[in-house]
């Protein structure tokens, strides 16, 4: 009996390791394809999301997207050289507020999903690369131009993590860098945290604009 138990335990550990390994080894383009298709399908199938139900969208973002994003790295890059001056507590609060802002914006984008489809550019990066870009496009109807949407990922111990997004040709971190520097110049790290927190409160009070 004991032997059997041990055998079972060994088997489960082995299976768990394999599963963990499989996730860690999922190629970055496959990961992005899987997540974005998943999000797109979920949004299209969910009337509450299309109606702009904030809680539902937030949940979708938190379960499907957030585990694959490294917000700490994003925040540190956007803060640039000021990051080193921040205390651990400030770093934590800044990351949280920036994360909330991006989640809210992303939720707004998801609420607008209706009849869009995705297209991926062939992925080419050497297998040993640890910093890659996945290129995609959101195709729209009504003769509208496609929206360019690229993801920059870094290989980490727990698998590939997104740390920058390019929308319509502009990298998010790069775009926020200037704003962060200005706000920090005006009121220090705490000033930036406060501005972000105020913005987040204002956003939380306004309903998400729904899809047309």
């Amino acid at each position: 009996m004991k032997t059997l138990n041990r055998l079972f335990a060994a088997f489960f550990i082995f299976a768990a390791l394999c599963a963990g390994n499989a996730i860690a080894q999922e190629a970055p383009d496959a990961l992005i394809k899987r997540i974005s298709q998943d999000v797109l399908d979920s949004a299209k199938a969910d009337r509450a999301i299309q109606a702009g139900n904030q809680k539902r969208i937030q949940k979708l973002v938190e379960t499907k997207i957030l585990p694959h994003v490294d917000f700490q790295r994003m925040t540190s890059l956007a803060a640039g050289r000021y990051w080193h001056d921040a205390t651990p507590a400030q770093k934590q609060r800044l990351t949280k507020e920036f994360r909330d802002l991006l989640v809210h914006t992303y939720s707004g984008a998801i609420a607008q999903i209706k009849d869009q489809t995705l297209q991926f550019r062939p992925f080419r990066a050497s297998p040993s690369a640890t910093d890659v870009i996945v290129y995609s496009q959101v195709l729209q109807t009504r003769g509208r131009e496609p929206i360019q949407l690229n993801y920059r990922l870094e290989k980490q111990a727990g698998g590939w993590k997104v740390y920058d997004i390019n929308v319509l040709g502009a990298w998010l971190v790069q775009t926020y860098k200037g704003t962060f520097a200005t706000e920090i110049g005006k009121g220090g790290i705490d000033g930036l945290i406060k501005t972000l927190a105020d913005k987040n409160r204002a956003l939380a009070a306004t309903p998400i604009k729904k899809a047309r």
């Binding site: 050289r81 131009e145 360019q148 860098k177």
Partner: protein
């Protein structure tokens, strides 16, 4: 005509007054030495958009059937492809330029005067090139950021290129003038309608809308000149910001150095 002139003058005076009042402040971004002027122009444009353009575009989007909007967008898109073709050829991108010529030929005939974009379905993708991109392609420096009245974000280089784009627009020769002007209006509203959702997102994402739009625009513009290539991937590890990479090199190597 008289009325038109008077309105134009009024708008110019208002814009100038706004510009003068805003000249005091500058944020110190090296790419934006005219920040005071630009901010004033930005808020002027923002007001015009809020009270006139955005409501018109919203009504347009909500009232007209989707296929009509598609037709309008395609029609002006087809006309715009002529100037895109010229600029692709001017940049030496012969293959793209010839593809654009074929697009116009296909869409103007089988696409019923451009109303249907049959060329895209036939595997000839739409490009978008203007004279500013042509100058940029041949190494023309963007110069400082400029916000133009009504037209919005631009750079000194692209402002110089603007008259060429104006004269290179076939619709500008459409007779009679009344049809030409109505067409111009519709084109502007259709374009704005396509950016309504993006505009809402910018409102949500930006801490300072002016700064956000500027910093995103300058990147986007460079990206258009690079043709969505991989040349200007930000190098966040060095503090210099953007690292220009010669040739299409994936960013893998920059990570390897870490």
């Amino acid at each position: 005509m008289m009325f038109n002139k008077r309105v134009t003058r009024l708008v110019l005076v208002a814009a100038a007054a706004a510009a003068i009042s805003g000249c005091a402040s500058t944020g110190g971004n090296p790419k934006d030495p005219y920040e005071g002027f630009n901010r004033a122009m930005f808020s002027f444009n923002d007001t015009v958009d809020r009270v006139a353009l955005k409501p018109a575009a919203t009504a347009y989007r909500d009232a007209l059937p989707g296929f009509v909007q598609t037709g309008i967008g395609n029609f002006f898109g087809n006309i715009g492809d002529v100037w895109t073709a010229v600029n692709n050829l001017l940049q030496g991108k012969v293959e793209d330029g010839m593809s654009d010529v074929a697009r116009v030929a296909l869409n103007s005939t089988f696409g019923l005067l451009g109303l249907i974009d049959v060329a895209s379905d036939a595997g000839l993708p739409k490009h978008r090139e203007d004279f500013g991109q042509t100058l940029g392609h041949w190494g023309g420096e963007a110069g400082p950021y400029v916000v133009l009245p009504f037209l919005g974000s631009s750079t000194v280089r692209d402002t110089f290129a603007l008259p060429f784009d104006f004269y290179g627009d076939p619709w500008g020769y459409k007779d009679p003038v009344s049809v030409r002007n109505i067409g111009r209006g519709v084109r502007v509203i259709d374009k704005r309608a396509g950016a309504l959702e993006a505009g809402d997102l910018v409102e949500e994402a930006a801490l300072d809308k002016y700064e956000f739009v500027r910093d995103a625009y300058l990147q986007r513009r460079q990206n258009q000149i690079d043709d969505d290539g991989e040349k200007h991937v930000p190098d966040y590890d060095s503090e210099s910001g953007v690292k220009p990479q010669e040739g299409a090199k994936p960013p893998a190597s920059s990570a390897a150095q870490r």
